[in-house]
Symmetry: C2
DNA sequence: TCAAAAGTGTTAATAGTACACCCATGA
DNA sequence: TCATGGGTGTACTATTAACACTTTTGA
């Protein structure tokens, strides 16, 4: 060990994940009803400890994967929560990330094993420790980012209708939007491409399916919704 | 020690501060030309290790105070940098904050003792480790936040002219603004209050001094510049 | 034929941008 | 008197907001 670091205190470091999903027109979080100690029986975020030989970003990816089986998920650091007593058991510094996942693609078995459940944003149960604050900050960050970066598509299937897209943004921002104004704006973004496919699950008439073209977006990365 | 945490790895945790100041129409950073090991002689951010019985936010305040002698400084967490090899000496996880200080109020003696210097944003020397990335992210965050929250006033004296205010925002965003449009916008924000005082340091005619009234702002917190 | 979701334009209001001259003062 | 920074208004453009009816189709 290098002499300059010898005498310094060391800390437990954890990651916690705020996992967003979009289903039935609602924004949801994947939360654990803990079937393990500590705080067994209570609700919490999915979390885990950072490991010795692991970048913190990778810890977050690993923890998310342990619960959902998913890789290559959009994740963003929210911040670090480092108050002395935030975990009543022992001091743990937690680095918090939010994740956006397609709600039909996760591994049901793993989720069941962890006793995790999708909960609507406005029906979130009391959470342990400072997890409520983490959720609040994650939501605020995600709302802001989703308005100027095309991250919402991570919550949708590869092909989606304009109604789905609008409902998603209404759910994220918790406010209704005007259909014609919304579509006018979408029409200006040529990286949101109409396909020939039609989805008939929600109407007899059917609605055109669209896709997000990231290559086109990268050429002229301007987005706001 | 609680049984659930026993086997977990522990980590050195540090804080690093990106200290912004505004002087002579320019945005500047307070950087250290290190007169101590490791990396002695090289340029870096002001940093320090978190202590056992200290909230991380308080570690940042302490470290800032050690360099500047200042308390009650506006600070905001930028994020946490946790790659394994970011510090070549040993693994250190760093929580990064930016600070906005009034450039005439810091403690010269302390700053000299640390061999710290104010450096213009466009003349930043090569920095150690991942400090350049930290600076980049801090600047981007500060630019975004300064556009929708009245944090810029932390960089100005309590009384300031409109020219100073405009120059500040021009420095933050690295772009010129139109004087009349700028003043029109300021006039709509009634928490930016004109005083009877006149500053004659920059013109024979003198310019009215304004102040930021936080109480008025809180009543109707809308800001954008 | 009718219920239900998809799709489509125009107008008004607001916000943002561009632009040039007079004012007050002390040296 | 003149050089210097302080202060002011108007016209144009772009963006956003409000608003209602027709289309398609399968049951």
């Amino acid at each position: 060990m290098n002499q300059y670091y010898k005498k310094r205190a060391k800390f437990h470091v954890a990651v916690d994940c705020i996992i967003f999903g979009f289903d039935e027109g609602e924004l949801k979080l994947l939360l654990l009803q803990r079937n393990f100690q500590p705080a067994k029986g209570q609700w919490s975020l999915m979390g885990g400890f950072a490991e010795e030989e692991e970048n913190i970003d990778d810890s977050a990816k690993r923890v998310l994967n342990e619960l959902t089986g998913l890789d290559n998920v959009y994740m963003k650091q929210v911040g670090t929560f480092g108050n002395i007593d935030r975990d009543p058991g022992e001091r743990v510094i937690s680095v918090v990330y939010y994740a956006l996942i397609k709600i039909n693609e996760y591994d049901r078995e793993l989720v069941n094993k962890h006793n995790a459940h999708w909960v609507k944003m406005d029906e979130i149960p009391p959470l342990i420790f400072d997890h409520p604050l983490m959720v609040k900050q994650a939501l605020e960050l995600m709302q802001r980012q989703s308005s100027y970066e095309p991250i919402g598509f991570n919550l949708l299937p590869p092909l989606f209708t304009l109604t789905q897209l609008q409902t998603l943004y209404e759910a994220i921002n918790a406010e209704k939007m005007d259909k014609r104004n919304f579509r006018k704006k979408v029409a200006t973004m040529d990286f949101i491409e109409k396909t020939e496919n039609i989805d008939k699950t929600n109407s007899r008439r059917g609605a055109y399916l669209y896709k997000f073209n990231n290559k086109v977006y990268k050429k002229d990365p301007k987005f706001n919704l």
